[in-house]
Amino acid sequence: MSQDGPTPLERFINGILPENPVYRQILGMCPTLAVTNSMEGALTMAGAVAFVLICSNVLISLIRGLLKPHLRILVFTLTIATFVTIADRVLAAYMYEMSKQLGPYVPLIIVNCIIICRCEVCASKQGLRAALTDAVGQALGFTLGLASIATVREILGSGTWFGRWLGWRVIPEAAPQHWSPWVVMVLPPGAFITLGLLMGAVNWFAARKAK
């Protein structure tokens, strides 16, 4: 089974751009839209998703011989929920402010379709190496998607980049008659607009490359 289909290296590369979870598979939209108004939130979310994705992919791959077809989704969900609980508690213990800011979106990683999708299409059928590289590639792709949206939203919405962690100010503060941050970019509509425009840009580049 592991002989046909992409090699582990191809799986790794596919996850980053050709099958990017955000821009190509359009999975995991809930955190993508909800936590990307600052780079800190986006990267913390991406880190938590990466942890859960890699751990559950590895574990599912290890126990794939024991899976019963009619119970597999249940096993996936329980596995994911275990790691999500670990991630949630670790965040609450060591990054309390960030945990408060992300709020329900950390527990909601359980229903993040990227993870269950990778468990279903890859980890439950492939060996450890393929499952691991696949998970790492997808996690990097998700990080890239979140970071790109958060970059646009934080720079336009607050004028900063990593404003809280590093305090980098991209657009200098100006009097209101000269310039003002776009509040809409911090709010949910900004997430939809940014996602749509960036997805359009990605499709445009992909179409140009295909020619």
């Binding site: 310039w179 003002s180 776009w182 509040v183 607009i193």
Partner: protein
């Protein structure tokens, strides 16, 4: 429709009614070589002249400044975005100028430069070009741009932005009539509201100017008279009913009609042929819904005025209205074919 938006002249000179089927295409509908996009847009600009005069009288150079910023930005945006899509530039049809003008007339006089600039780019880009250009847009582009800058720059666009005591104009020292009514319970006299000697967005203050321009638009058939008529009837009915149920001192249905941006919206914005329904019946529904939403937002929400949101909400309902308002052909309804 794509070809029609690109080359209106060619389509206009083509023979009418080639196919016998009822053909419903997105507006503007071109026929007989008379009604071209450019003629309609020039008509709208001519109809805006009374509004411009009233605005110049009231806000002086601020009007010129905002109009210049918005119209130039809209033209630049149109050029840039059509180029990005690899289309022929469509500056000649005048739609970008009209979008810029409507946007400028809906801004506060002292709005900073970037409000009109970004508003125009969003109006043309997100309001029109992403849908495929003129004739394909679901929402009124100018109102999309205004909604964006309203949410993006609440300080520069909110109710407090209209009051600028340091600007050196008498009109800008008082709150807008609808804000004064909502926040302070103060009524404004009917004559100032009608003539436009009150504060407000650049184009909205004078009901008289909007009526003159609007009647010209309706007489030229550039705007469908059904939409403003239905909107005025709806606002008059709702405001009259509310006046009977809970009268406000010095505020009647005529104040509701001539105050705020209602007449400007009813004549210039809601009648945009692209984003309004196709049939007369649908236009009545559209106008009535628009008027009802304006009154709902004015009385029940935190915003003093609701023309922009009313137009956008009704734009979203247009496909549904079009489905409800399919006309019955002469000779009875077309029998529905049963699909086995």
């Amino acid at each position: 429709m794509d070809a029609a938006t690109q080359k209106p002249e060619n389509v206009a000179s083509a023979p009418v009614a080639v196919a016998p089927a009822i053909h419903i295409a997105p507006a503007p509908h071109l026929f007989g070589g008379v009604l071209t996009t450019r003629r309609m847009m020039v008509d709208v600009l001519l109809a805006l002249v009374p509004v411009l005069v009233a605005s110049l009288w009231m806000f002086r150079l601020y009007t010129v400044l905002q109009l210049a910023i918005c119209m130039v930005s809209a033209l630049v945006a149109e050029t840039v975005f059509t180029k990005m899509r690899g289309r022929r530039p469509t500056l000649g049809d005048g739609s970008a100028v009209v979008t810029g003008a409507i946007l400028a007339f809906s801004l506060p006089a002292t709005a900073p430069w970037y409000v009109g600039f970004i508003g125009a780019f969003v109006a043309i880009g997100l309001g029109k070009i992403v849908f495929g250009g003129l004739g394909q847009n679901i929402f009124n582009p100018a109102m999309v741009g205004r909604a964006f800058v309203l949410i993006a720059f609440p300080v520069a666009m909110g109710a407090s932005a209209y009051v600028a005591p340091t600007a050196g104009l008498d009109g800008l020292t008082q709150a807008t009539p609808l804000t004064a009514l909502k926040m302070l319970g103060q009524s404004t006299g009917l004559l100032p509201l009608f003539l436009g000697t009150t504060n407000g967005s650049l184009g909205e203050t004078s009901a008289l100017a909007c009526l003159i321009g609007g009647l010209y638009l309706c007489a030229r058939r550039t705007a469908s008279w059904e939409i403003p008529a239905a909107a005025i009837l709806a606002v008059a009915a709702i405001s009259g009913l509310l006046g009977v149920l809970g009268p406000r001192t010095g505020w009647t249905l005529f104040h509701d009609l001539s105050g705020g941006a209602f007449l400007f919206g009813a004549f210039y914005i809601a009648t945009d042929p692209v984003s309004s329904p196709l049939t007369p019946k649908g236009k009545w529904m559209f106008g009535a819904g628009f008027g009802a939403l304006v009154m709902l937002i004015r009385r029940m929400s935190g915003y003093p005025e609701g023309v922009m949101f009313a137009v956008l909400i009704m734009n979203a309902l247009v496909p549904l209205i079009n489905r409800w308002a399919i006309p019955t052909p002469v000779g009875g309804p077309v029998p529905v074919k049963k699909t086995a």
